[in-house]
């Protein structure tokens, strides 16, 4: 089990040894800050709801960028062969990498608290809603990243991995915005598949087990598929 931590640490440090972490964090904060501050002054309300919407949208692009190299680069360099002959299980390896990417996004999200602090100077932001929103975001990030690591196991090309994960994430992102096109029961299913639908439930301050179950099962499914994809090499 300790090896999961060792791998996660190495991967996390790798983000900061290369420009990836700095580029991701800086761009993310710039875009989120700019979008949020213009919107907030227009609506003239001291809350972070707008910010959470913006973050979910920007993550659509940033998460594939963070996750695209996780496994594809190992495949391209051939280091996957060494990694997968180490005395650790494939799922431990996937988990180690997943945790590293998650931590990078977590650091970025924590830095967005600056907006909460600045709003606190302007008015009385709702602490409960803010906490609920961040909890929702942690789940959303978990799903996006699980999809990202899955697509990075499919190919040795980072760009292909980026595009594939973007497409899959976009499906879960857009699906509740098109439900009105479909008849009732299909609309219900589509709504249940939607990331934003469950986010809004959590952000309202209700931590319903159905929403948590939805996120956790999506995370599990995509991590499971990642492990299966890696193991399929054995039988090719």
């Amino acid at each position: 089990m300790r090896q999961i931590a060792v791998l996660a640490k190495k991967e996390f440090k790798g983000y900061f040894d290369s420009p990836v972490a700095y580029v991701v964090i800086t761009l993310f904060l710039l875009i989120a800050g700019w979008q949020f501050s213009t919107g907030m002054f227009l609506s003239n309300t001291p809350d972070l709801r707008g910010l959470f919407g913006i973050i979910r949208f920007i993550l659509l692009f940033f998460i594939p960028a963070v996750s695209m190299r996780l496994l594809s680069e190992e495949k391209r360099l051939g280091t996957i062969e060494l990694l997968m002959t180490l005395p650790i299980k494939d799922w431990q390896l996937v988990l180690g990498k997943y945790i590293a990417a998650y931590l990078l996004i977590l650091v970025t999200l924590i830095l967005t608290l600056i907006h909460f602090i600045s709003i606190a100077f302007l008015g009385e932001p709702d602490v409960g809603a803010t906490i609920a929103g961040y909890i929702g975001l942690f789940f959303v990030v978990g799903v996006y990243l699980a999809i990202g690591i899955f697509t990075s196991a499919l190919t040795q090309n980072q760009i292909v991995s980026f595009i594939l994960s973007f497409v899959i994430i976009f499906f879960f992102f857009i699906v509740d915005k098109v439900v009105f096109l479909f008849p009732g029961f299909i609309a219900n299913i589509l709504e249940f598949l939607s990331i934003d639908y469950h986010f809004n439930n959590i952000a309202r301050g209700v931590l319903d087990s159905r929403d948590v179950f939805y996120y956790l099962s999506l995370i599990f499914i995509f991590l499971f598929l990642t492990v299966q994809t890696l193991e399929s090499r054995k039988w090719k």
Binding site: D17, G78, T79, E81, L82, T85, L86, K89
Partner: protein, 311 residues
């Protein structure tokens, strides 16, 4: 120590490895020899648990690759072909990382220093692997394979792309390691195997075609010998009588270089060395022997014979 049992691996419908079995004793330096694409890498990848065989089993210290893969992996240090490494990590961080990953996550600093010294990496510890030459990268690859002090070391073409000096260094390193460890060395270079290994397996198109020490293989595949001579004086008499020397089959050719100086090539029967008799004949016929050389099958000939002329 390692027992490979009826191993078969298909890629699609083409067999890469075809029902091979062999055992490796502790302390053997095994040369795994074959032309490119013969199935060496596939076999090694199965032993290291990177691939699963279509059928068959491998036991390492009585642990099966199917049921106790982690136990198998713990005992093996593996350097894949072309030494794949993280090019943006520095040498010491990388070895440290692999040490933790191969062990239980803890670090033994003295072991890392030891490995760095063994592999001659002292001068480059803080360099990025991407900046290193091919020879140094190969050594870093070897260092990560050694860092957990494994009982078994598997090296897939460790000297490809190195210059002659580096090749000799790596070979010496392997020889030294072979004193304490079981080593499997994949190679398509014959004299590399002759120089470092005490047992050779030859594989061709997925089939195991030969198994033995380098000298055993030479002996068992030894065909007719060939003796080259340079003789002076009385060549006529000598050539008449040499055909009667026991073990001599025929005169392949006879070139007169100058008056009285001949270069002669003889074919000898398998397994007999007639050089002493030829020498005596020269004395009896008062012929001056300037040069005599016997050639028998080299491992290279064995290899060509077995693998269909490809090198």
């Amino acid at each position: 120590m390692i027992s490979v049992q009826n191993l078969t691996k298909y890629y699609g419908t083409a067999p890469a490895v075809n029902n091979i079995s062999f055992e490796i004793e502790k302390g053997t330096v095994l040369g795994f020899l074959g032309p490119n694409g013969a199935g060496k890498t596939t076999t090694v990848r199965i032993i290291t648990c990177y691939l699963s065989p279509t059928s068959g089993n491998v036991l390492v210290d009585n642990h099966s690759i199917h049921t106790e893969s982690l136990e198998v992996r713990k005992r093996i240090g593996y350097l894949p072909e072309n030494a794949p490494l993280y090019l943006d990590m520095n040498v010491v961080d990388y070895i440290n990382f692999m040490h933790r990953m191969r062990g239980d996550g803890t670090v033994d600093g003295s072991r890392i220093r030891e490995v760095i010294a063994t592999c001659g990496l002292e001068g480059v510890v803080h360099k990025n692997i991407g900046e290193l030459s091919k020879g140094y990268r190969q050594r870093v690859g070897l260092a990560q394979a050694l860092v957990h002090d494994p009982e078994i070391l598997i090296l897939d073409e460790p000297t490809v792309g190195l210059d002659p000096n580096q090749i000799i260094e790596i070979r010496n390193l392997i020889k030294n390691l072979g004193r304490e460890k079981t080593v499997i060395l994949c190679s398509h270079i014959l004299h590399e195997v002759e120089a470092t290994c005490n047992r050779v397996l030859i594989i061709s198109e997925g089939d195991l075609v030969a198994d033995g020490t380098p000298s055993e293989l030479q002996a068992s595949f030894e065909g007719k010998g060939r003796i080259s001579l340079q003789v002076k004086n009385n060549c006529g008499t000598f050539l008449e009588k040499v055909i009667n020397v026991p073990g001599i089959d025929r005169i392949i050719n006879d070139i007169q270089i100058t008056e009285g100086l001949h270069e002669v090539q003889l074919e000898s029967v398998k397994g007999i060395d007639p050089r002493e008799d030829i020498f005596r004949l020269c004395m009896n016929t008062n012929t001056v022997l300037l040069e005599m050389k016997r050639e028998v099958t080299s491992l290279e000939d064995v290899f060509r014979q077995l693998t269909g002329g490809e090198h």
